[in-house]
Symmetry: D2
Protein backbone atom coordinates (compact mmCIF):
# COMPACT_ATOMS: atom_id res chain seq x y z
CA UNK A 1 0.00 0.00 0.00
CA UNK A 2 3.05 2.30 0.38
CA UNK A 3 2.07 5.80 1.39
CA UNK A 4 -1.63 5.29 0.70
CA UNK A 5 -2.58 4.59 4.24
CA UNK A 6 -1.80 7.04 7.05
CA UNK A 7 -3.88 5.46 9.82
CA UNK A 8 -2.14 4.20 12.95
CA UNK A 9 -3.50 0.67 12.67
CA UNK A 10 -6.23 -0.34 10.27
CA UNK A 11 -8.51 -3.21 11.27
CA UNK A 12 -7.95 -5.93 8.68
CA UNK A 13 -9.91 -8.94 7.44
CA UNK A 14 -9.75 -11.14 4.35
CA UNK A 15 -12.39 -12.43 1.99
CA UNK A 16 -11.85 -15.10 -0.60
CA UNK A 17 -13.67 -14.10 -3.80
CA UNK A 18 -16.15 -16.85 -4.58
CA UNK A 19 -18.19 -17.85 -7.60
CA UNK A 20 -21.31 -16.35 -6.00
CA UNK A 21 -19.67 -12.89 -5.83
CA UNK A 22 -19.01 -12.74 -9.57
CA UNK A 23 -21.11 -11.48 -12.46
CA UNK A 24 -21.32 -12.56 -16.11
CA UNK A 25 -18.14 -10.56 -16.80
CA UNK A 26 -16.37 -12.90 -14.35
CA UNK A 27 -15.60 -10.11 -11.88
CA UNK A 28 -17.07 -9.17 -8.52
CA UNK A 29 -20.50 -7.58 -8.93
CA UNK A 30 -20.16 -4.16 -7.25
CA UNK A 31 -23.16 -4.75 -4.97
CA UNK A 32 -21.23 -7.56 -3.28
CA UNK A 33 -18.49 -5.09 -2.27
CA UNK A 34 -21.10 -3.30 -0.15
CA UNK A 35 -21.98 -6.58 1.52
CA UNK A 36 -18.27 -6.96 2.33
CA UNK A 37 -18.13 -3.37 3.64
CA UNK A 38 -21.07 -4.18 5.87
CA UNK A 39 -19.25 -7.32 6.98
CA UNK A 40 -16.00 -5.66 8.02
CA UNK A 41 -17.93 -3.04 10.02
CA UNK A 42 -19.76 -5.87 11.81
CA UNK A 43 -16.47 -7.73 12.42
CA UNK A 44 -14.83 -4.54 13.77
CA UNK A 45 -17.70 -3.92 16.21
CA UNK A 46 -17.39 -7.49 17.46
CA UNK A 47 -13.60 -7.86 17.61
CA UNK A 48 -12.27 -4.34 18.13
CA UNK A 49 -15.13 -2.62 20.01
CA UNK A 50 -16.22 -5.85 21.78
CA UNK A 51 -19.82 -5.25 20.71
CA UNK A 52 -21.26 -8.16 18.75
CA UNK A 53 -24.38 -6.88 16.97
CA UNK A 54 -26.68 -9.40 18.68
CA UNK A 55 -25.58 -8.15 22.13
CA UNK A 56 -25.61 -4.50 21.14
CA UNK A 57 -29.09 -4.79 19.61
CA UNK A 58 -30.67 -6.89 22.35
CA UNK A 59 -28.60 -5.84 25.36
CA UNK A 60 -27.87 -2.13 24.95
CA UNK A 61 -30.84 -1.57 22.60
CA UNK A 62 -28.76 0.55 20.25
CA UNK A 63 -27.91 0.19 16.58
CA UNK A 64 -25.83 1.90 13.90
CA UNK A 65 -27.93 2.50 10.75
CA UNK A 66 -26.14 3.68 7.60
CA UNK A 67 -26.26 7.43 6.97
CA UNK A 68 -24.39 7.42 3.69
CA UNK A 69 -21.93 5.34 1.78
CA UNK A 70 -19.79 5.98 -1.24
CA UNK A 71 -17.23 3.92 -3.06
CA UNK A 72 -14.73 4.34 -5.88
CA UNK A 73 -13.89 1.22 -7.83
CA UNK A 74 -10.36 1.22 -9.26
CA UNK A 75 -9.83 -2.24 -10.71
CA UNK A 76 -11.88 -5.41 -11.02
CA UNK A 77 -11.61 -8.33 -8.56
CA UNK A 78 -11.65 -11.89 -9.83
CA UNK A 79 -12.78 -15.35 -8.71
CA UNK A 80 -10.11 -16.84 -6.44
CA UNK A 81 -8.62 -13.49 -5.39
CA UNK A 82 -7.94 -13.00 -1.69
CA UNK A 83 -9.31 -9.55 -0.99
CA UNK A 84 -7.73 -7.78 1.99
CA UNK A 85 -10.17 -5.35 3.62
CA UNK A 86 -8.87 -2.53 5.81
CA UNK A 87 -10.96 -0.29 8.04
CA UNK A 88 -9.99 2.94 9.78
CA UNK A 89 -12.04 5.84 11.13
CA UNK A 90 -11.85 9.03 9.10
CA UNK A 91 -14.01 10.98 11.57
CA UNK A 92 -15.37 9.99 14.95
CA UNK A 93 -18.30 12.26 15.83
CA UNK A 94 -20.37 12.51 18.98
CA UNK A 95 -22.98 10.07 17.64
CA UNK A 96 -21.57 9.06 14.27
CA UNK A 97 -18.62 7.23 12.74
CA UNK A 98 -17.26 7.81 9.27
CA UNK A 99 -15.22 4.83 8.15
CA UNK A 100 -12.50 4.76 5.53
CA UNK A 101 -12.61 1.23 4.11
CA UNK A 102 -10.30 -0.10 1.43
CA UNK A 103 -9.99 -3.32 -0.50
CA UNK A 104 -6.83 -4.60 -2.13
CA UNK A 105 -5.43 -7.79 -3.62
CA UNK A 106 -1.73 -7.86 -2.83
CA UNK A 107 -0.55 -4.32 -3.50
CA UNK A 108 -3.29 -3.65 -6.03
CA UNK A 109 -5.95 -1.31 -4.63
CA UNK A 110 -9.44 -2.35 -5.81
CA UNK A 111 -11.80 0.08 -4.07
CA UNK A 112 -11.93 2.80 -1.45
CA UNK A 113 -15.11 3.67 0.44
CA UNK A 114 -16.43 6.24 2.87
CA UNK A 115 -19.15 4.70 4.98
CA UNK A 116 -20.96 6.68 7.66
CA UNK A 117 -23.14 5.26 10.42
CA UNK A 118 -24.89 6.94 13.35
CA UNK A 119 -25.86 5.50 16.70
CA UNK A 120 -29.57 5.41 17.51
CA UNK A 121 -31.69 4.04 20.30
CA UNK A 122 -33.65 1.04 19.03
CA UNK A 123 -36.52 2.09 21.32
CA UNK A 124 -36.89 5.74 20.23
CA UNK A 125 -34.91 5.67 16.93
CA UNK A 126 -33.34 8.93 18.07
CA UNK A 127 -29.67 9.73 17.77
CA UNK A 128 -27.61 8.90 20.87
CA UNK A 129 -24.04 9.82 21.83
CA UNK A 130 -21.58 6.94 21.60
CA UNK A 131 -20.90 5.71 25.17
CA UNK A 132 -17.42 6.28 26.60
CA UNK A 133 -16.51 2.60 26.90
CA UNK A 134 -17.21 2.06 23.20
CA UNK A 135 -15.53 5.33 22.20
CA UNK A 136 -12.37 4.39 24.10
CA UNK A 137 -11.97 1.24 22.00
CA UNK A 138 -12.73 3.10 18.77
CA UNK A 139 -9.99 5.70 19.26
CA UNK A 140 -7.22 3.30 18.28
CA UNK A 141 -8.58 3.33 14.72
CA UNK A 142 -8.92 7.07 14.26
CA UNK A 143 -6.42 8.92 12.06
CA UNK A 144 -4.73 12.10 13.32
CA UNK A 145 -7.14 14.40 11.51
CA UNK A 146 -10.32 12.60 12.52
CA UNK A 147 -10.65 13.04 16.30
Amino acid sequence: MGGLWQMPKPFTTQRLIRFSHCDPAGIVFFVNFFEMISGIVEDWFREAVHQPFQEMHLGRRVGFPIVSTGCEFFRPCHLGDTLVLELAIARLGRASIEFDIRGRVGGDEKFRARHKVAMVSLDTFKSMPIPDDMRARMLAYVGAEGR
Copy 2:
Protein backbone atom coordinates in the same frame (compact mmCIF):
# COMPACT_ATOMS: atom_id res chain seq x y z
CA MET B 1 -46.73 -26.35 -20.88
CA GLY B 2 -49.03 -28.91 -22.55
CA GLY B 3 -49.88 -31.78 -20.22
CA LEU B 4 -47.24 -30.87 -17.67
CA TRP B 5 -49.55 -29.04 -15.38
CA GLN B 6 -52.69 -30.65 -13.96
CA MET B 7 -53.62 -27.99 -11.42
CA PRO B 8 -56.94 -26.19 -11.76
CA LYS B 9 -55.39 -22.70 -11.86
CA PRO B 10 -51.77 -22.01 -11.03
CA PHE B 11 -50.90 -18.63 -9.55
CA THR B 12 -48.59 -16.97 -12.07
CA THR B 13 -45.99 -14.20 -11.94
CA GLN B 14 -43.13 -13.12 -14.17
CA ARG B 15 -39.53 -12.20 -13.47
CA LEU B 16 -37.20 -10.58 -15.94
CA ILE B 17 -33.77 -12.18 -15.62
CA ARG B 18 -31.32 -9.41 -14.75
CA PHE B 19 -27.56 -9.05 -14.77
CA SER B 20 -27.51 -9.43 -10.97
CA HIS B 21 -29.12 -12.89 -11.20
CA CYS B 22 -26.38 -14.30 -13.44
CA ASP B 23 -23.09 -15.99 -12.65
CA PRO B 24 -19.77 -16.09 -14.49
CA ALA B 25 -21.21 -18.73 -16.84
CA GLY B 26 -23.77 -16.10 -17.91
CA ILE B 27 -26.72 -18.07 -16.52
CA VAL B 28 -28.91 -17.65 -13.46
CA PHE B 29 -27.03 -18.67 -10.31
CA PHE B 30 -29.19 -21.42 -8.76
CA VAL B 31 -29.40 -19.65 -5.40
CA ASN B 32 -31.34 -16.84 -7.08
CA PHE B 33 -34.06 -19.30 -8.12
CA PHE B 34 -34.74 -19.88 -4.43
CA GLU B 35 -35.11 -16.12 -3.92
CA MET B 36 -37.67 -16.19 -6.76
CA ILE B 37 -39.46 -19.15 -5.17
CA SER B 38 -39.62 -17.19 -1.93
CA GLY B 39 -40.95 -14.22 -3.89
CA ILE B 40 -43.82 -16.04 -5.60
CA VAL B 41 -44.92 -17.53 -2.27
CA GLU B 42 -44.95 -14.02 -0.79
CA ASP B 43 -46.87 -12.67 -3.80
CA TRP B 44 -49.40 -15.50 -3.55
CA PHE B 45 -50.03 -14.85 0.14
CA ARG B 46 -50.59 -11.18 -0.63
CA GLU B 47 -52.66 -11.44 -3.80
CA ALA B 48 -54.42 -14.81 -3.59
CA VAL B 49 -54.77 -15.34 0.17
CA HIS B 50 -55.11 -11.59 0.91
CA GLN B 51 -52.41 -11.86 3.58
CA PRO B 52 -49.51 -9.48 2.98
CA PHE B 53 -46.60 -10.67 5.13
CA GLN B 54 -46.37 -7.40 7.07
CA GLU B 55 -50.05 -7.69 8.13
CA MET B 56 -49.85 -11.42 8.82
CA HIS B 57 -46.69 -11.01 10.92
CA LEU B 58 -47.76 -7.92 12.86
CA GLY B 59 -51.55 -8.32 12.86
CA ARG B 60 -52.21 -12.06 13.17
CA ARG B 61 -48.78 -12.80 14.74
CA VAL B 62 -48.31 -15.87 12.57
CA GLY B 63 -45.65 -16.79 10.04
CA PHE B 64 -44.81 -19.60 7.61
CA PRO B 65 -41.21 -20.76 8.06
CA ILE B 66 -39.75 -23.14 5.49
CA VAL B 67 -39.81 -26.82 6.46
CA SER B 68 -38.07 -28.14 3.37
CA THR B 69 -37.43 -27.22 -0.20
CA GLY B 70 -36.15 -29.10 -3.18
CA CYS B 71 -35.64 -28.21 -6.78
CA GLU B 72 -34.70 -29.89 -10.02
CA PHE B 73 -32.97 -27.72 -12.59
CA PHE B 74 -33.65 -28.76 -16.18
CA ARG B 75 -32.12 -26.05 -18.36
CA PRO B 76 -30.22 -22.82 -17.77
CA CYS B 77 -31.90 -19.41 -17.76
CA HIS B 78 -30.20 -16.44 -19.42
CA LEU B 79 -29.94 -12.68 -19.01
CA GLY B 80 -32.96 -11.04 -20.63
CA ASP B 81 -35.22 -14.12 -20.35
CA THR B 82 -38.73 -13.56 -19.05
CA LEU B 83 -39.18 -16.33 -16.53
CA VAL B 84 -42.80 -17.34 -15.91
CA LEU B 85 -43.30 -18.68 -12.39
CA GLU B 86 -46.30 -20.88 -11.58
CA LEU B 87 -47.44 -21.94 -8.12
CA ALA B 88 -49.97 -24.58 -7.12
CA ILE B 89 -50.51 -26.53 -3.92
CA ALA B 90 -49.48 -30.18 -4.03
CA ARG B 91 -50.74 -30.85 -0.50
CA LEU B 92 -52.65 -28.65 1.90
CA GLY B 93 -52.23 -29.98 5.44
CA ARG B 94 -53.80 -28.87 8.70
CA ALA B 95 -50.88 -26.57 9.49
CA SER B 96 -48.65 -26.92 6.45
CA ILE B 97 -48.62 -26.19 2.73
CA GLU B 98 -46.56 -28.04 0.17
CA PHE B 99 -46.18 -25.95 -2.96
CA ASP B 100 -45.44 -27.16 -6.46
CA ILE B 101 -43.56 -24.28 -8.12
CA ARG B 102 -42.34 -24.25 -11.68
CA GLY B 103 -40.32 -21.90 -13.81
CA ARG B 104 -40.43 -21.73 -17.60
CA VAL B 105 -39.36 -19.46 -20.44
CA GLY B 106 -41.96 -19.80 -23.16
CA GLY B 107 -42.65 -23.54 -23.37
CA ASP B 108 -39.21 -24.45 -22.05
CA GLU B 109 -39.38 -25.74 -18.48
CA LYS B 110 -36.39 -24.53 -16.44
CA PHE B 111 -37.01 -25.85 -12.94
CA ARG B 112 -39.58 -27.57 -10.77
CA ALA B 113 -39.63 -27.25 -7.01
CA ARG B 114 -41.39 -28.69 -3.97
CA HIS B 115 -41.44 -26.12 -1.22
CA LYS B 116 -43.05 -26.83 2.16
CA VAL B 117 -43.94 -24.27 4.79
CA ALA B 118 -45.74 -24.63 8.12
CA MET B 119 -47.75 -22.09 10.03
CA VAL B 120 -46.47 -21.10 13.46
CA SER B 121 -47.42 -18.59 16.10
CA LEU B 122 -44.81 -15.84 16.23
CA ASP B 123 -45.37 -15.63 20.00
CA THR B 124 -44.90 -19.30 20.91
CA PHE B 125 -43.19 -20.60 17.71
CA LYS B 126 -45.53 -23.57 17.94
CA SER B 127 -47.37 -25.05 14.98
CA MET B 128 -50.90 -23.69 14.47
CA PRO B 129 -53.74 -24.87 12.24
CA ILE B 130 -54.33 -22.67 9.20
CA PRO B 131 -57.45 -20.53 9.92
CA ASP B 132 -60.58 -21.23 7.88
CA ASP B 133 -60.67 -17.85 6.12
CA MET B 134 -57.13 -18.38 4.81
CA ARG B 135 -57.74 -22.03 3.96
CA ALA B 136 -60.84 -21.12 1.94
CA ARG B 137 -58.77 -18.88 -0.35
CA MET B 138 -56.00 -21.48 -0.63
CA LEU B 139 -58.33 -24.24 -1.88
CA ALA B 140 -58.55 -22.79 -5.38
CA TYR B 141 -54.88 -23.68 -5.89
CA VAL B 142 -54.99 -27.26 -4.66
CA GLY B 143 -54.79 -30.10 -7.19
CA ALA B 144 -57.28 -33.00 -7.05
CA GLU B 145 -54.90 -35.30 -5.18
CA GLY B 146 -53.75 -32.72 -2.63
CA ARG B 147 -56.79 -31.95 -0.46
Copy 3:
Protein backbone atom coordinates in the same frame (compact mmCIF):
# COMPACT_ATOMS: atom_id res chain seq x y z
CA MET C 1 -41.27 15.42 -4.60
CA GLY C 2 -42.10 19.13 -5.05
CA GLY C 3 -39.10 21.16 -6.12
CA LEU C 4 -36.62 18.38 -5.44
CA TRP C 5 -36.40 17.21 -8.98
CA GLN C 6 -35.40 19.56 -11.78
CA MET C 7 -34.89 16.99 -14.52
CA PRO C 8 -37.03 17.17 -17.64
CA LYS C 9 -38.32 13.61 -17.38
CA PRO C 10 -36.92 11.06 -14.97
CA PHE C 11 -37.07 7.41 -15.98
CA THR C 12 -39.28 5.72 -13.41
CA THR C 13 -39.77 2.17 -12.17
CA GLN C 14 -41.33 0.60 -9.08
CA ARG C 15 -40.17 -2.11 -6.71
CA LEU C 16 -42.32 -3.80 -4.12
CA ILE C 17 -40.30 -4.22 -0.93
CA ARG C 18 -40.20 -7.94 -0.16
CA PHE C 19 -39.31 -10.03 2.86
CA SER C 20 -35.96 -10.92 1.25
CA HIS C 21 -34.95 -7.22 1.11
CA CYS C 22 -35.35 -6.69 4.84
CA ASP C 23 -32.94 -7.10 7.72
CA PRO C 24 -33.48 -8.07 11.37
CA ALA C 25 -34.58 -4.48 12.08
CA GLY C 26 -37.45 -5.08 9.63
CA ILE C 27 -36.22 -2.48 7.15
CA VAL C 28 -34.49 -2.72 3.78
CA PHE C 29 -30.85 -3.74 4.20
CA PHE C 30 -28.87 -0.94 2.53
CA VAL C 31 -26.98 -3.33 0.25
CA ASN C 32 -30.27 -4.19 -1.45
CA PHE C 33 -30.74 -0.55 -2.47
CA PHE C 34 -27.59 -0.88 -4.57
CA GLU C 35 -29.06 -3.95 -6.25
CA MET C 36 -32.14 -1.81 -7.06
CA ILE C 37 -29.91 1.01 -8.36
CA SER C 38 -28.19 -1.53 -10.59
CA GLY C 39 -31.63 -2.73 -11.69
CA ILE C 40 -33.01 0.66 -12.75
CA VAL C 41 -29.83 1.39 -14.74
CA GLU C 42 -30.29 -1.94 -16.53
CA ASP C 43 -34.00 -1.20 -17.15
CA TRP C 44 -33.15 2.28 -18.48
CA PHE C 45 -30.58 0.89 -20.93
CA ARG C 46 -33.13 -1.62 -22.17
CA GLU C 47 -36.24 0.56 -22.33
CA ALA C 48 -34.95 4.10 -22.84
CA VAL C 49 -31.67 3.54 -24.73
CA HIS C 50 -32.95 0.38 -26.50
CA GLN C 51 -29.84 -1.51 -25.41
CA PRO C 52 -30.64 -4.65 -23.48
CA PHE C 53 -27.45 -5.72 -21.68
CA GLN C 54 -27.34 -9.13 -23.38
CA GLU C 55 -27.36 -7.45 -26.84
CA MET C 56 -24.97 -4.71 -25.84
CA HIS C 57 -22.51 -7.20 -24.31
CA LEU C 58 -22.69 -9.82 -27.03
CA GLY C 59 -23.56 -7.68 -30.06
CA ARG C 60 -21.71 -4.40 -29.64
CA ARG C 61 -19.07 -5.91 -27.28
CA VAL C 62 -19.28 -2.94 -24.94
CA GLY C 63 -20.18 -2.66 -21.27
CA PHE C 64 -20.61 -0.01 -18.60
CA PRO C 65 -18.64 -0.93 -15.45
CA ILE C 66 -19.23 1.14 -12.31
CA VAL C 67 -16.69 3.89 -11.68
CA SER C 68 -18.11 5.10 -8.40
CA THR C 69 -21.34 5.13 -6.49
CA GLY C 70 -22.54 7.00 -3.46
CA CYS C 71 -25.82 7.11 -1.65
CA GLU C 72 -27.43 9.06 1.16
CA PHE C 73 -30.11 7.23 3.11
CA PHE C 74 -32.79 9.52 4.54
CA ARG C 75 -35.45 7.25 5.99
CA PRO C 76 -35.96 3.50 6.30
CA CYS C 77 -38.08 1.50 3.84
CA HIS C 78 -40.38 -1.24 5.11
CA LEU C 79 -41.78 -4.60 3.98
CA GLY C 80 -44.77 -3.99 1.71
CA ASP C 81 -43.71 -0.48 0.66
CA THR C 82 -43.90 0.36 -3.03
CA LEU C 83 -40.61 2.06 -3.73
CA VAL C 84 -40.65 4.45 -6.70
CA LEU C 85 -37.23 4.70 -8.33
CA GLU C 86 -36.36 7.68 -10.53
CA LEU C 87 -33.31 8.02 -12.77
CA ALA C 88 -31.94 11.10 -14.50
CA ILE C 89 -28.50 11.98 -15.84
CA ALA C 90 -26.56 14.51 -13.80
CA ARG C 91 -23.66 14.58 -16.27
CA LEU C 92 -23.26 12.95 -19.65
CA GLY C 93 -19.57 12.75 -20.52
CA ARG C 94 -17.84 11.59 -23.67
CA ALA C 95 -17.45 8.04 -22.35
CA SER C 96 -19.17 8.20 -18.97
CA ILE C 97 -22.60 8.74 -17.45
CA GLU C 98 -23.25 10.06 -13.98
CA PHE C 99 -26.75 9.13 -12.86
CA ASP C 100 -28.86 10.84 -10.25
CA ILE C 101 -31.08 8.08 -8.81
CA ARG C 102 -33.70 8.58 -6.14
CA GLY C 103 -36.03 6.35 -4.21
CA ARG C 104 -39.27 7.44 -2.59
CA VAL C 105 -42.41 5.93 -1.10
CA GLY C 106 -45.24 8.30 -1.89
CA GLY C 107 -43.83 11.76 -1.21
CA ASP C 108 -41.32 10.45 1.32
CA GLU C 109 -37.77 10.49 -0.08
CA LYS C 110 -35.82 7.44 1.09
CA PHE C 111 -32.45 7.74 -0.64
CA ARG C 112 -30.58 9.72 -3.26
CA ALA C 113 -27.60 8.31 -5.15
CA ARG C 114 -24.90 9.40 -7.56
CA HIS C 115 -23.85 6.47 -9.68
CA LYS C 116 -21.18 6.78 -12.36
CA VAL C 117 -20.47 4.29 -15.13
CA ALA C 118 -18.05 4.41 -18.04
CA MET C 119 -18.26 2.70 -21.38
CA VAL C 120 -15.50 0.21 -22.20
CA SER C 121 -14.78 -2.22 -24.99
CA LEU C 122 -15.25 -5.76 -23.72
CA ASP C 123 -12.39 -6.83 -26.00
CA THR C 124 -9.74 -4.32 -24.93
CA PHE C 125 -11.28 -3.10 -21.62
CA LYS C 126 -10.35 0.41 -22.76
CA SER C 127 -12.60 3.42 -22.45
CA MET C 128 -14.70 4.15 -25.57
CA PRO C 129 -16.81 7.17 -26.53
CA ILE C 130 -20.54 6.58 -26.30
CA PRO C 131 -21.86 6.09 -29.87
CA ASP C 132 -24.12 8.79 -31.29
CA ASP C 133 -27.21 6.60 -31.60
CA MET C 134 -27.05 5.74 -27.91
CA ARG C 135 -26.17 9.32 -26.89
CA ALA C 136 -29.18 10.67 -28.80
CA ARG C 137 -31.54 8.55 -26.71
CA MET C 138 -29.75 9.45 -23.47
CA LEU C 139 -30.13 13.21 -23.97
CA ALA C 140 -33.80 13.20 -22.99
CA TYR C 141 -32.75 12.32 -19.43
CA VAL C 142 -30.04 14.96 -18.97
CA GLY C 143 -30.72 17.97 -16.77
CA ALA C 144 -29.92 21.50 -17.97
CA GLU C 145 -26.59 21.67 -16.16
CA GLY C 146 -25.39 18.21 -17.20
CA ARG C 147 -24.83 18.39 -20.95
Copy 4:
Protein backbone atom coordinates in the same frame (compact mmCIF):
# COMPACT_ATOMS: atom_id res chain seq x y z
CA MET D 1 -23.33 -35.18 16.11
CA GLY D 2 -23.10 -38.63 17.76
CA GLY D 3 -24.24 -41.36 15.43
CA LEU D 4 -25.75 -38.99 12.88
CA TRP D 5 -22.80 -39.07 10.58
CA GLN D 6 -21.43 -42.32 9.18
CA MET D 7 -19.02 -40.87 6.65
CA PRO D 8 -15.31 -41.63 6.98
CA LYS D 9 -14.25 -37.98 7.09
CA PRO D 10 -16.56 -35.10 6.25
CA PHE D 11 -15.02 -31.96 4.78
CA THR D 12 -15.70 -29.21 7.30
CA THR D 13 -15.86 -25.42 7.19
CA GLN D 14 -17.31 -22.74 9.43
CA ARG D 15 -19.43 -19.68 8.74
CA LEU D 16 -20.15 -16.94 11.21
CA ILE D 17 -23.80 -15.90 10.88
CA ARG D 18 -23.85 -12.21 10.01
CA PHE D 19 -26.46 -9.47 10.03
CA SER D 20 -26.74 -9.72 6.24
CA HIS D 21 -27.79 -13.40 6.46
CA CYS D 22 -30.78 -12.69 8.68
CA ASP D 23 -34.37 -11.82 7.89
CA PRO D 24 -36.96 -9.72 9.73
CA ALA D 25 -37.59 -12.66 12.07
CA GLY D 26 -33.92 -12.35 13.13
CA ILE D 27 -32.99 -15.77 11.77
CA VAL D 28 -31.05 -16.88 8.70
CA PHE D 29 -33.13 -16.42 5.55
CA PHE D 30 -33.29 -19.91 4.00
CA VAL D 31 -31.96 -18.69 0.63
CA ASN D 32 -28.66 -17.83 2.32
CA PHE D 33 -28.21 -21.47 3.36
CA PHE D 34 -28.07 -22.35 -0.34
CA GLU D 35 -25.35 -19.75 -0.84
CA MET D 36 -23.43 -21.47 2.00
CA ILE D 37 -24.02 -24.89 0.40
CA SER D 38 -22.63 -23.50 -2.83
CA GLY D 39 -19.68 -22.13 -0.86
CA ILE D 40 -18.68 -25.38 0.83
CA VAL D 41 -18.81 -27.22 -2.50
CA GLU D 42 -16.50 -24.57 -3.97
CA ASP D 43 -14.17 -24.82 -0.95
CA TRP D 44 -14.12 -28.62 -1.20
CA PHE D 45 -13.19 -28.52 -4.90
CA ARG D 46 -10.37 -26.10 -4.11
CA GLU D 47 -8.99 -27.66 -0.94
CA ALA D 48 -9.85 -31.35 -1.18
CA VAL D 49 -9.91 -31.99 -4.93
CA HIS D 50 -7.22 -29.35 -5.68
CA GLN D 51 -9.44 -27.79 -8.34
CA PRO D 52 -10.08 -24.10 -7.73
CA PHE D 53 -13.06 -23.10 -9.87
CA GLN D 54 -11.11 -20.47 -11.80
CA GLU D 55 -8.53 -23.09 -12.88
CA MET D 56 -11.11 -25.76 -13.56
CA HIS D 57 -13.24 -23.40 -15.65
CA LEU D 58 -10.43 -21.74 -17.59
CA GLY D 59 -7.81 -24.53 -17.60
CA ARG D 60 -9.73 -27.79 -17.94
CA ARG D 61 -12.81 -26.10 -19.47
CA VAL D 62 -15.17 -28.13 -17.32
CA GLY D 63 -17.78 -27.11 -14.79
CA PHE D 64 -20.25 -28.69 -12.38
CA PRO D 65 -23.75 -27.22 -12.83
CA ILE D 66 -26.41 -28.09 -10.26
CA VAL D 67 -28.76 -30.90 -11.23
CA SER D 68 -30.95 -30.79 -8.15
CA THR D 69 -30.83 -29.68 -4.58
CA GLY D 70 -33.03 -30.27 -1.60
CA CYS D 71 -32.83 -29.24 1.99
CA GLU D 72 -34.66 -29.93 5.24
CA PHE D 73 -34.55 -27.16 7.81
CA PHE D 74 -34.70 -28.40 11.40
CA ARG D 75 -34.11 -25.35 13.58
CA PRO D 76 -33.43 -21.66 13.00
CA CYS D 77 -29.92 -20.16 12.99
CA HIS D 78 -29.28 -16.81 14.66
CA LEU D 79 -27.03 -13.79 14.27
CA GLY D 80 -23.67 -14.53 15.89
CA ASP D 81 -23.97 -18.33 15.61
CA THR D 82 -20.94 -20.20 14.31
CA LEU D 83 -22.40 -22.59 11.77
CA VAL D 84 -20.33 -25.72 11.15
CA LEU D 85 -20.82 -27.06 7.62
CA GLU D 86 -19.98 -30.67 6.81
CA LEU D 87 -19.79 -32.20 3.35
CA ALA D 88 -19.63 -35.85 2.35
CA ILE D 89 -20.47 -37.69 -0.86
CA ALA D 90 -23.62 -39.79 -0.75
CA ARG D 91 -23.12 -41.09 -4.28
CA LEU D 92 -20.23 -40.68 -6.68
CA GLY D 93 -21.42 -41.41 -10.21
CA ARG D 94 -19.53 -41.58 -13.48
CA ALA D 95 -20.21 -37.92 -14.27
CA SER D 96 -22.13 -36.74 -11.22
CA ILE D 97 -21.68 -36.18 -7.50
CA GLU D 98 -24.46 -36.24 -4.95
CA PHE D 99 -23.36 -34.42 -1.81
CA ASP D 100 -24.74 -34.85 1.69
CA ILE D 101 -24.26 -31.46 3.34
CA ARG D 102 -25.20 -30.65 6.92
CA GLY D 103 -25.16 -27.56 9.05
CA ARG D 104 -24.99 -27.51 12.83
CA VAL D 105 -24.32 -25.09 15.67
CA GLY D 106 -22.56 -27.04 18.39
CA GLY D 107 -24.49 -30.31 18.60
CA ASP D 108 -27.69 -28.77 17.28
CA GLU D 109 -28.39 -29.84 13.70
CA LYS D 110 -29.87 -26.98 11.66
CA PHE D 111 -30.27 -28.38 8.16
CA ARG D 112 -29.44 -31.35 6.01
CA ALA D 113 -29.19 -31.14 2.22
CA ARG D 114 -28.80 -33.36 -0.79
CA HIS D 115 -27.08 -31.45 -3.56
CA LYS D 116 -26.32 -33.03 -6.93
CA VAL D 117 -23.96 -31.67 -9.56
CA ALA D 118 -22.83 -33.11 -12.89
CA MET D 119 -19.65 -32.49 -14.80
CA VAL D 120 -19.98 -30.90 -18.23
CA SER D 121 -17.63 -29.60 -20.86
CA LEU D 122 -17.83 -25.80 -20.96
CA ASP D 123 -17.26 -25.99 -24.72
CA THR D 124 -20.02 -28.46 -25.65
CA PHE D 125 -22.15 -28.35 -22.45
CA LYS D 126 -22.29 -32.13 -22.69
CA SER D 127 -21.87 -34.46 -19.76
CA MET D 128 -18.31 -35.74 -19.23
CA PRO D 129 -16.92 -38.50 -17.01
CA ILE D 130 -15.03 -37.23 -13.98
CA PRO D 131 -11.27 -37.64 -14.70
CA ASP D 132 -9.38 -40.23 -12.66
CA ASP D 133 -7.11 -37.73 -10.89
CA MET D 134 -10.12 -35.82 -9.59
CA ARG D 135 -12.03 -38.99 -8.73
CA ALA D 136 -9.09 -40.32 -6.71
CA ARG D 137 -9.21 -37.27 -4.43
CA MET D 138 -13.01 -37.45 -4.14
CA LEU D 139 -13.06 -41.06 -2.90
CA ALA D 140 -11.94 -40.11 0.61
CA TYR D 141 -15.30 -38.37 1.12
CA VAL D 142 -17.57 -41.17 -0.12
CA GLY D 143 -19.57 -43.18 2.41
CA ALA D 144 -19.60 -47.00 2.25
CA GLU D 145 -22.91 -47.17 0.39
CA GLY D 146 -22.07 -44.48 -2.18
CA ARG D 147 -19.29 -45.91 -4.34
